[in-house]
Symmetry: C2
């Protein structure tokens, strides 16, 4: 890969349909692609990066590619597997190796000169904090439903009395397994005042006034391109539980919402965001959250193809330069 057009580095795990979709499009455009899963380091990966008179240079070797670090034009950051101890090294030596890898390889991949990031992983990390999402959305002129984050049962009950019906939403998607090892999802759901008990004091909880919605909206944003999809047919609060019942329609965006989401992405330094809104009967868009690394390849055509092209444009910036 040293010669030819500068490559796009795709950082993700083996099993990632969304990355595959973008890689196919980059292949179609004849843009060189290298795929990296930092969780395979050291394993099948070696890396040498030098800081010299002309800044960072070096080579990252994966099982199938040699990547000239100084020439990487962009990084598509998807869902890499976690840094792990090298095979055969456990205990604190293993943890030490994994941390050195995170700060060494992770630092290099996060500091490539001249590379454009979609998105930079450290910007994603900031943008995953829901309280920061809500504060930023309000500052950018988006409309946020009344929300409380608390570990005080009395305050949660007071909020539910005032704003009910309210929903509960986890602050973070943490892995949680049931008794037989299956991954559990904590869904967004209605909460009654009787469900708020003193166990709540053990950690922070988010409650939000349930929007009296006529439909849900998932708006995927890539740079200046907005893909606002109206989602109809969800019988409950969390449409992710009802994929089979849903229909999707591309709709128009009110100008203040379009300005708001662009300001929001700028505030966090993001190029990509998957915004969730509730649409009420007055036509108001209520901001729920923005996943800086949300999935989108499950949309029906032509939406997926359009988003794929917009991401590929960002990664080949300026569009078409390498074709």
């Amino acid at each position: 890969m040293p010669a030819g057009a500068p490559p796009v580095l795709v950082v993700t795990r083996l099993d990632d349909v969304t990355a595959d979709t973008v890689i196919s499009e980059l292949n179609r455009r004849a843009v060189p692609v290298a795929r990296l899963d930092p969780g395979n380091f050291p394993g099948t990966i070696t890396m040498t990066a030098a800081f010299d008179t002309f800044g960072l240079s070096g080579i990252l070797r994966t099982a199938t590619r040699n990547v000239d670090l100084a020439r990487v034009r962009s990084v598509y950051w998807r869902r890499p597997s976690p840094y792990a101890a090298p095979e055969g090294i456990d205990g604190q030596a293993g943890r030490w190796c994994a941390e050195e890898a995170r700060y060494g390889l992770g630092g290099i991949v996060g500091a490539l000169p001249g590379a454009r990031y979609v998105n930079h992983p450290w910007r994603n990390r900031d943008a995953e904090y829901k309280p920061a999402q809500l504060a930023t959305a309000e500052r950018c002129g988006l409309t946020v439903p009344p929300t409380v984050i608390t570990n005080e049962p009395d305050q949660a009950r007071r909020f539910a009395d005032r704003y009910g019906p309210v929903i509960y939403k986890p602050l973070r998607e943490t892995d949680y397994l049931d008794d037989i090892g299956r991954a559990l999802t904590v869904w967004i759901d209605d909460v009654g005042p009787d469900q708020i008990d003193d166990g709540m004091a053990h950690t922070a909880h988010l409650f939000q006034k349930r929007v009296n919605k006529t439909a849900d909206i998932r708006m995927t944003v890539v740079g200046d391109h907005l893909f606002p999809v109206r989602i109809d047919g969800s019988p409950g609060v969390d449409w992710r539980r009802h994929y089979d019942a849903l229909t999707y329609t591309l709709i128009d965006v009110p100008p203040d919402v379009a300005n708001g989401v662009r300001a929001y992405l700028d505030a966090f330094g993001l190029t990509f965001g998957a915004f969730d809104f509730g649409l009420d009967s007055a036509g108001r868009w209520w901001f729920y959250e923005c996943n800086p690394n949300g999935q989108w390849a499950w949309f029906p055509e032509p939406i997926t193809t359009q988003i794929t092209a917009a991401i590929a444009d960002q990664l080949t910036n300026p569009p078409g330069a390498a074709t």
Copy 2:
């Protein structure tokens, strides 16, 4: 604390002499201070934050203070203890509680409207990656010694042959205990080619040309104030091993270095940085690293008092408004 001047929130663990020094100065200036260790949440801490028509508001209750979140004027982020499972809840339920706390309380404390952060914890986190430090320092016009980050023994030997003597430096200070539970420090030290073996392949390592230094420099920077201290008397590479032998002198800063460190802090969004340089016999300043949360209260007078005042000025911004 609801009435009166807006408070400064100091985020740190119980045992933090550096924070104590700043709190004493704020007390002297009659600026209200609240101290928070998120590692004590929930324990002695309760929190309710609401997002409403006027943005974020709410109350954080510690063992000794009620803090009006909307009125916090600044946050001094020092060394909090880690988020932990609540007492009596272990396993994955405990981990789940700790993660909800990190993203809930941590998100709130990171998103206070109008608060100035010294430094914002998410900016510190970015700035702790040494490869990003080196890349940013070079981009800002600072002079970086030739450096390599690698897990390839051959490349490390080649670097040592070319640039020796070279030093080894850990990429991250990870807790590491010896056989009887004492914390070990991995020191920065000389490395010969014979010490580079195949064990190196297990993770990333940083090697750097050893600067032929006449003295070390620790420059603490607080906003526009630079505190460049020349450190003489270290018999070895890492002056932290020889505190008893050291002498300290405030010196002048070359203008390009002053511009470089200000650009560096701007690039990372930092207000505070503890920069380490090596000074060679030609008067060149070689950038080693910048600790975004470095210690400084160990300097002799009058340096410590001056840094304390500069930090207190940042936290009461504009200086003197609350006195």
